[in-house]
Structure formats: C-alpha cells, structure tokens
C-alpha cells in the first residue's frame, strides 16, 4: 500500500504552485514599487533646490500606517488564489491524497509565505528610497530614526490578520467579496442607524470595534498610536495596543479560517 504524501512535500509544492498562480500580483507589486521609487526620486530631485533654501523637506519615509496599502494586497490575494476552487465546484483535485481541510490550510499558508515576502520587499524598497531621497535633499537624519524596532513588524502583522480573514472568506464562500465587504458595511450601517435613532453614545461604542484601542484598524490598518492627548495630537505608538489588537483579531481570524477549512471536509 502506498503512503500518503508527507505534509512538508505538499507544503513546498503548494508554495511553488501558488507562487506561479499569483505571479501577476507579484509583478504588479514590483511594478508599483518601481514606479514609486522613480516618482520619489524625481520629486526629491525637484525639491532639492527648495530644500537647500528652506528647512528640510521630509523624505519618503515609512510609518506603520503605510501598511494600509499592503492590506489591500492581502485582501486581493486570497480571491485570486481561490477563485478556481470555490466550495461548490466539483473539482478533480478533491480526489488528491490529502484531507480537504489540510489542503485548504496548507494552500493558505503557502499564500501567506508569498505575502510576507511581498511585504518584506515593500519595506526594503521604502527604506532604500527613503535613504536615497534624504541624501538627494541633503538631510542627515538616519532612516526611520523616529521608529521603534517593533514598529517595523506592524506591516507584517497587519497584513497577516487581514489575509487570514480574507482567506476564510475565499475558502468558505462562493462570492468572497460579499463576505469581505459585507460585514464591515453592515456593521457600520447598523452603528449609523443606532446613531440616527438617537443613541449616539451606543453608536460611538459600536464604532470602537473599528477605531477603538484594540479595534480592527489597530490590528489591520497599522494605527498603533497610544491614543490622543488633550490637545488632540496623536501620542507615540503603543506596543501594548499593537500586541493586544493583533492577538485579539488574529485569534478570531485564525479560528474562523480553521472552521471554514474544516467545513470543506463535509460532503453532501
């Protein structure tokens, strides 16, 4: 009797397979980064003269909030990966020698690997562009000097949490877009309705799910400031906020993904 394949072999193969499948997105990312670099350098060269005359213009630096750009990528990637494997489709490779739930999780993991690679590439390019543009305009402040070490990890976690949610939608639903856009919209709509009905305090509490200290925005949008001071200015980024939001939303997303993958084992 032949054995079933080893998980590690299957996982490696999925990384190759998914990489090939979504290489278009990869190329898009590369293209956007190249464009960004070109524009940044061009603009900073134009500003050089101005910068020498007045005080320094800020370079094209990086803040955790910038990860919001990558979050869009995290939402798109699962849709592309799973678009041929909708739950209702009868597919030959349902007959592959792996449990269907394992397959779903392994493939999702393979996609996450590429997503992290893309995020790392993004950050590397941003740092380099920042250094180059600062050099062009004659600024001496070192790259990312105002950032704590942990802040560099924010894009990775933000993107990951968004990706896990989006994967759950792509694996579990026939039209994943509905499930990615729908629940936030419905929730926002409900809060609005509550506010219009006069319960503005309740509505504000409800919106804390998005914008609160441990809200969705902190977990997936990179808004990890410690809050606002009396004058309405943003406080320094808070590692507690980042960890708390990530763990909370990360656990919820992972649980959802696991359940949705398990559901694939069920047959009619």
């Amino acid at each position: 009797m032949h054995p079933a394949p080893r998980w590690i072999d299957v996982a490696r193969e999925q990384v190759r397979s998914v990489g090939l499948h979504v290489r278009v997105l990869g190329l898009l990312l590369l293209g956007s980064l190249a464009l960004y670099s070109a524009i940044a350098i061009r603009v900073s060269m134009n500003q050089r003269a101005a910068a020498l005359a007045r005080h320094a213009v800020t370079g094209f630096g990086f803040t955790p909030q910038a990860s919001i750009i990558l979050t869009y990528l995290a939402l798109l990637l699962p849709a592309m990966m799973w678009h041929d494997e909708k739950p209702g489709k009868r597919m030959y490779h349902l007959a592959m020698p792996v449990a269907r739930s394992t397959h779903a999780l392994t493939k999702a993991l393979a996609g996450w690997f590429w997503l992290m690679a893309g995020t790392a590439l993004f950050l590397v390019v941003v740092v380099i562009v920042d250094a180059v543009t600062r050099h062009i305009v004659g600024q001496s402040a070192p790259v990312g000097s105002n950032l704590e070490t942990w802040e560099w990890l924010v894009p990775f976690t933000a993107v990951s949490v968004a990706y896990v949610f989006s994967s759950a939608a792509a694996i579990g639903a026939e039209t994943p877009a509905v499930w990615v856009v729908g629940p936030p919209l419905l929730y926002a709509g409900a809060s609005l309705a509550v506010a219009l009905l006069g319960y503005s305090a309740t509505a504000q509490s409800m919106m804390k799910l998005f914008s609160g200290f441990y809200g969705a925005s902190a977990a997936m949008g990179g808004t990890v400031e410690g809050g606002m001071d009396a004058a309405g200015r943003l406080l320094a980024p808070s590692v507690g906020r980042w960890i708390g939001a990530t763990v909370l939303w990360g656990a919820a997303a992972t649980t959802l993904l696991y359940l949705v993958a398990r559901r694939r084992n069920r047959t009619t």
Binding site: M1, H2, P3, A4, P5, R6, D9, V10, R12, E13, S17, L20, H21, D84, E85, K89, R90, M91, Y92, H93, L94, A95, M96, P97, V98, A99, R100, T102, T267, T268
Partner: protein, 330 residues
Amino acid sequence: MPGPLPTDLSAGELAIATHDLSKQYKTVAALTGLALQVPEGAVYLLVGPNGAGKSTTIKILLDLIEPTSGTARVLGLDPRAQPALVRANVGYVPEQLDWGYAWMRTGRLLEHHAKYFPSWDRDYAARLFRTFDLRLDQKLGTLSKGQGRRVHLAMALAHRPPVLILDEPTDGLDPVMRDETTGVLIDHIADAPTTVLLCTHHVSEFDQFADHIGVLRNGELRAQLPLLELRRGLRRYRADIPADWGGASLFGAAALRKTTTHRDLDWTVWGDESAITAELAVAGAVVRDAVPLSLSDATLALLSPKEVIVRAAARTADDTHLLHSTEASK
C-alpha cells in the same frame, strides 16, 4: 428487487466492498442497500443506465460524497475515516473533467502530482504522455475533452496505484485513442497486479479486458458475477414449438428475454444449459440452438427484460394476416 442472477462475490479478498450502502437525495434514492464486491486483481465492469448510481458509488468510495447509510471499504480502509490514504492508493479518472487550475500547464500538473504521490513514476508518466499524444506545454483550460481524459488517464496510471477507478475512460476519444487506451491498460495490469473498477456504457469495448461484471439498475445490483460464469450460464435458446404449446411461462424471471411466435421461440434464459434444454424438451419444444450472448447483448437483456408474444391468425385465401404483438416489461 433481486434478479435471478447471482450477486455474491464475497468469497476471497475484496479490494472494494460496500455493505448495505444507501444514498438518499431529497426525492431520489440513488442507491439502495448496495453490496458492491470487487475482488482483488479483478477487472470489474460496472454497467448500468444513466442515473443507476454508478458515479454516486464511486464518489462515496473516494469520500467525495457521503452515504446516507451503510459502509464502504477500499483496500480495507474506510474512506470516511482515512480519505487521504484511500486516495493515495486509487487512480481515479472522473466522468466529468473539471480542472481546478485552468491556468496550469500539463507539464507543471505532472510535477504537481509527482509531489502528491510518493510512488510517482516520472518515466512512465512521460511515456504515457507520448503514447497519448499529449504535449507538456498546454494550458489545462485549453484542452479538448479527449485530451483532458487522456491527461487524467496518464495521471491515474503514473503512480501505479493498487486500485484504478475509471469512470468512462474512453469517452470522447477517437477510435485510434480508444485502442491505445486498451493497450495501455492491458500493459499496465500485466506489469503489476491491479484492481480495476471500470464504469462504462461501451461494454463491447472492454468485454475481452474485463473478467467480472456488475449490472446496476435503480441503485441496486441485478447481477454481480465473474464473466466466465455469465457466459456459461446465459444462453439464447431457439426452439420449434408445437401449436398450442403450453410452456409460455416456463423459467419465470430466469427468462430475461422472450420472443414467442406460434411456431418457435427465441428465449434468453439464465441457468444450466442441459437442464434448460431438457425442460424445454419435456414441454414439447425442439431446441435447435443454444448460443452464448455477447457481453453487450447480455447486459441489455439484464437491464431491460422483455417479453414479446407474436400471434398470427390463420391465413385466409386473400392473405390477410392479423398480427397482435404485446410487449410487456417485467
């Protein structure tokens, strides 16, 4: 309702066995108490009309759908408990091809499969592709029906599984490729003992290759037996009968097809040839002929028993015949 033919193959090792397997959809009973028994090393032809339950049975064996009740075993394994291990030991060609990866090229698909099946034989896969006239650089989404089926066949065979489950393996193939497929399958099982479960409408194409048969109708087996036994036990009897012959209801359900005129009979009957000939003789019939049936004719007789009685009134001078024919399905 059981037919007159045997359905029990349980003596000996079974590569595939179902016990009281039933599948009920909302209004349709796809399978009712099926006892499929495929002996180890057999080439088992599963025949039956569309909707008989062939594809349903196969999908249950591979844990693609779940039964309503009953059990199934493949190589002793329960597909619901160990689906990955079962599928690692089965080469499956589905009836309806549905590529999950339309963008993937055939060569890449082979590599993909090689990682999923540790027993994959790369050289054999390449040889099969050559035999089936397939290229390695074609996108799956652009394959024709026939090409797709050949790709599936190559993939099912390349990891040399102990069990092959082929659902209409030659559907959509031209006569040349059909012949190649038969040759490939013959060579394949000559190289290593393999159990083959083959679903097809093209019975005559596989009647030299198969050695067992299961006839499925309305979710249950009308017959399940070795082909040698079927060939030995089913005969088409042609006999002359006297006028006012009283043996019209002889043999009951064992007479699958009966055409009776007032002078002779043409009956397809299951049973021992000498006993049947003797019984007919005792009833006054003179047996001229007892011919074995081709597999397609035998299958047809099992799937659609028929009785035709042709009566002719005495000829009058101006030659008017009154012919009544009644057709009643049993």
